[in-house]
């Protein structure tokens, strides 16, 4: 028996006539950190969005803790166990920072407000924003908003965290504070799938890097293998392109 926490088996996803994922397979063990890289439009976001059914798939199966997730109640359980962090934060603008973090525990898990508020405060403490608890999202910088979004996802005590380019909407000087929170999370043993082009982050925390192109995994391996010894032509040219951009 395997010890995969998440298994994606033969996922097919199309938007109309365009096939975005073609027989996509990915197995993840508990505590593993997988980094996905690839050119724009290659389907990286789509993979993450299919994992918690933000996008319906045409065929294939998703197993969470070896259980096939397909019924409506499974879906909710799946989503409660999978935290998602978006490129554009998507904080709830009509709620304070504290309310943002408390919302799902109170409304979905039915945890008492007092308890939820203590949980939320401790999470805000962890991402270094306890003193901002009564601010509204628009009063925060992008980096702060993203850290709140991470705290909000963690409040559901997920088993897996998905990050979709969490730092690419941020000003360069705000990237590090978010990566720092993510690194801490990684060191605490969280299972993570991260779509990012932050190579240093991938090298430091990634157990495995996947290079995707046109809806498929072209090449995968340790960060060292992918970044230093890529074998596929497409991987090589992609890495060349993004490293150029980094030096410009």
């Amino acid at each position: 028996m395997n010890n995969y926490i998440l298994e994606l088996v033969g996922l097919h996803k199309s938007f109309g006539d365009i096939e975005v994922l073609k027989d996509f397979n990915l197995n993840i063990v508990e505590g593993e950190k997988v980094v996905i890289i690839g050119p724009s439009g290659s389907g990286k976001s789509t993979v993450l969005r299919c994992v918690n059914y933000l996008e319906p798939i045409q065929s294939g199966s998703i197993f969470f803790q070896r259980k096939n997730m397909w019924s409506k109640s499974d879906l909710q359980r799946l989503r409660m166990n999978i935290g998602m962090v978006f490129q554009r934060f998507n904080l709830f603008p009509h709620m304070t920072v504290l309310e943002n973090v408390m919302e799902a525990p109170v409304m979905v898990k039915k945890i008492a407000r007092q308890e939820a508020s203590e949980l939320a405060l401790s999470l805000l403490e962890r991402v270094g924003l306890a003193e901002k608890k009564d601010s509204y999202p628009k009063e925060l910088s992008g980096g702060q908003q993203q850290r709140v979004a991470i705290a909000r996802a963690l409040a559901m005590k997920p088993k897996i965290m998905l990050f979709d380019e969490p730092t690419s909407a941020l000003d360069p000087e705000l990237v590090e504070e978010v990566l720092l929170v993510m690194k801490e999370l990684a060191h605490e043993g969280m299972t993570m799938i991260v779509v990012t082009h932050e190579m240093d982050f991938a090298r430091e925390v990634g157990d495995r890097v996947l290079f995707m192109d046109k809806g498929q995994i072209i090449e995968e391996g340790t960060p060292h293998a992918i970044f230093n010894l890529p074998r596929q032509e497409r991987t090589i040219s992609f890495l060349r392109r993004i490293s150029h951009r980094a030096f410009c």
């Binding site: 989503r79 409660m80 998602m84 709830f92 603008p93 009509h94 409304m107 979905v108 559901m156």
Partner: protein, 217 residues
């Protein structure tokens, strides 16, 4: 002929009674119109093809035909099919159906104007569609809807004057009745206009306060 507003002042109780009826017709119609509008908007946005189509046709028919004709169908037309509504019923029902269609569109576009990412964030935290609507999308849509809704409320209050043509003695018809005995059209109609202005102004002030309150977030 000289203008003489003392006649109007003498008939003020009658005009105020008309005001009261106008307010009654408008507020009851708006209440039901809001309920219709919320239901209509949710139907328009639902995945159920029957609900979606029904709501589409409702809006299409109401917006594409004159309010006066709708009222006449309800009040003068339906009796032919054996359905007899008294004038108050027909007036309020007509006004509610009419304003409900416009409110449907206001709420629908308000909900659609909320960033898609909000629903995705809510759902990915384990919220159901209903919960996400109630806690996340709804409150944000309300804020977007307030200005067009205020506009629609004002339109409805003014449109209630048309119910005078199905013999509801609201403000305009009260005025007509006063004119029929005093022959003072100018004084009476300007007084009627002033009363509408007062009613709508109260409304706008309340709405303005509400808008300021929700603007903080």
């Amino acid at each position: 002929m000289e203008l003489d507003y003392s006649i109007v002042l003498g008939k003020m109780p009658l005009l105020l009674e008309g005001c009261l009826v106008t307010l009654q017709v408008s507020t009851v119609a708006l209440l039901f119109g809001m309920i219709l509008g919320v239901i209509g908007a949710l139907c328009r946005l639902s995945n159920n093809p029957i609900l979606k189509t029904a709501a589409f046709f409702y809006v299409w028919i109401i917006r594409g035909t004159p309010f006066l004709v709708q009222l006449f169908i309800l009040y003068f037309g339906l009796p032919q099919l054996g359905i007899r509504l008294d004038s108050m019923m027909a007036g309020i029902l007509g006004l509610a159906l009419n304003t409900g269609a416009y409110i449907t569109e206001i709420i629908r576009s308000g909900i659609q104007a909320v960033d898609k990412g909000q629903a995705e964030a809510a759902v990915s935290l384990g919220m159901s569609y209903g919960l996400a609507m109630r806690r996340i999308i709804g409150p944000q849509a309300v804020k977007i809807c307030i200005p067009p809704l205020v506009n629609q409320f004002i339109m409805t209050l003014k449109n209630s004057s048309i119910t005078s043509l199905v013999t509801i003695t609201e403000l305009v018809r009260s005025g007509d009745q006063i004119i029929s005995t005093t022959f003072r059209s100018f004084e009476v109609y300007t007084a009627v206009a002033l009363l509408y202005l007062v009613l709508n102004s109260i409304f706008m002030v309340i709405a303005g306060r509400l808008e300021k309150r929700t603007a903080r977030q």
